[in-house]
Amino acid sequence: MFYVAAVDTFYVLEMVVEYTHESDALNRKYLRGETVGHVVEVIDGFLLAIVLLIFAYGIYELYISRMDDAENHESAEHLLQIKNLDDLKSRLGKVVLMILIVKFFEISMTMEYEGVKELTIFAASIGLIALSFFMSELSARKSGQLKTRQSDHGKRIASLKHPHQN
């Protein structure tokens, strides 16, 4: 997935290079919409790749053995955040949700809208997407798995202050 997303980035770049020469406003608008869609797709690809990586680490740690190298590293908390099987499942669910939303986004960017009625329907679907975001966020917060970079930073400073403890 890292490879796929990297290739995508390369093509986006190639597309953007011609952007200045496009003097026709309508053409430019089309090209712009396409670029934005591809960029969002690229980020989505990277997210999927990272989740796969976390997945791999999680399976190794859960079912094979602990990794010694990883234990003392500062990014361990983020890469080894799978605690049990349910965690694996919910990660996968969230990624699938994200990919679906990106898909919706892409379709809606290339669609043509005519009339006020379609505009209202478009607004309603935006509202629905926002609602699904809200619900997935709510479930993430309820499970209390919010590990923050801030707490990492605190630990790091503590270890700088007292280097003998490590």
Partner: protein, 201 residues
């Protein structure tokens, strides 16, 4: 007791996290591309607006004006997307590869490094998608013709729906947003700690 084989495999797996680096570079590149696109847009908007004073016809001026407003909003939107890509790149590096030491001594660190965890990455992407969709709605709405009162009511309904979705996305980030004044990182790096770091090196 671990065998040599197991140890080698583990260190190989753990080193695989450096593949995140491709993601960091690529989203950096994509950020540059978006900056470029938005800059070109800004250039075209200004060149098109140069002869705005020469348009004497009232309705034509209204048309030019609405197009220009739409374009300006689009430019701002493009820059927002670029900045989010940049934040994304920094966040990936910080979370999965290692910490950027020089960044912590800058004041803007807590805004550029605003990513705290994987869910944060995802919700940031989601918020950007929402913002782009809303801008799209705005653009469509501004160039639309209304004929009946009924149309107007529908339009108002659409605005309320978009407002509701903005509210929901805002609610998600509730209380988490950092302001310039409540910069927690500013306090974290004192001179003493910098000295400690230098000693360690």
């Amino acid at each position: 007791m671990k065998t040599l084989f197991e140890r080698n495999i583990e260190s190989a797996i753990w080193k695989a996290r450096w593949s995140v680096l491709t993601a960091v570079f690529c989203s950096g590149i994509a950020a540059l591309a978006m900056f470029y696109v938005a800059a070109v847009d800004a250039f075209y908007v200004t060149t098109e607006l140069l002869d705005y004073a020469l348009v004497t016809d009232m309705s034509e001026r209204a048309h030019v004006r609405s197009v220009a407003v739409g374009n300006v909003v689009e430019v701002v939107d493009g820059f927002l997307l670029a900045i989010v890509l940049l934040i994304f790149a920094f966040g990936l590096y910080e979370l999965y590869v290692s910490k950027i030491d020089t960044a912590y001594e800058e004041e803007s660190a807590s805004h550029m490094l605003a990513i705290d965890n994987l869910d944060d990455l995802k919700s940031r992407l989601g918020k950007v998608i929402m913002m782009i969709l809303i801008v799209k709605f705005f653009e469509l709405a501004i160039s639309m013709e209304f004929e009946h009162v009924y149309d107007l009511l529908m339009f108002a309904g659409g605005i309320v729906l978009v407002g509701g979705s903005l509210f929901l996305t805002e609610f998600v980030s509730g209380g988490k947003s950092k302001t310039i004044k409540s910069d927690p990182n500013r306090e974290l790096w004192t001179d003493e700690m910098r000295q400690a770091k230098r000693d360690k090196e």
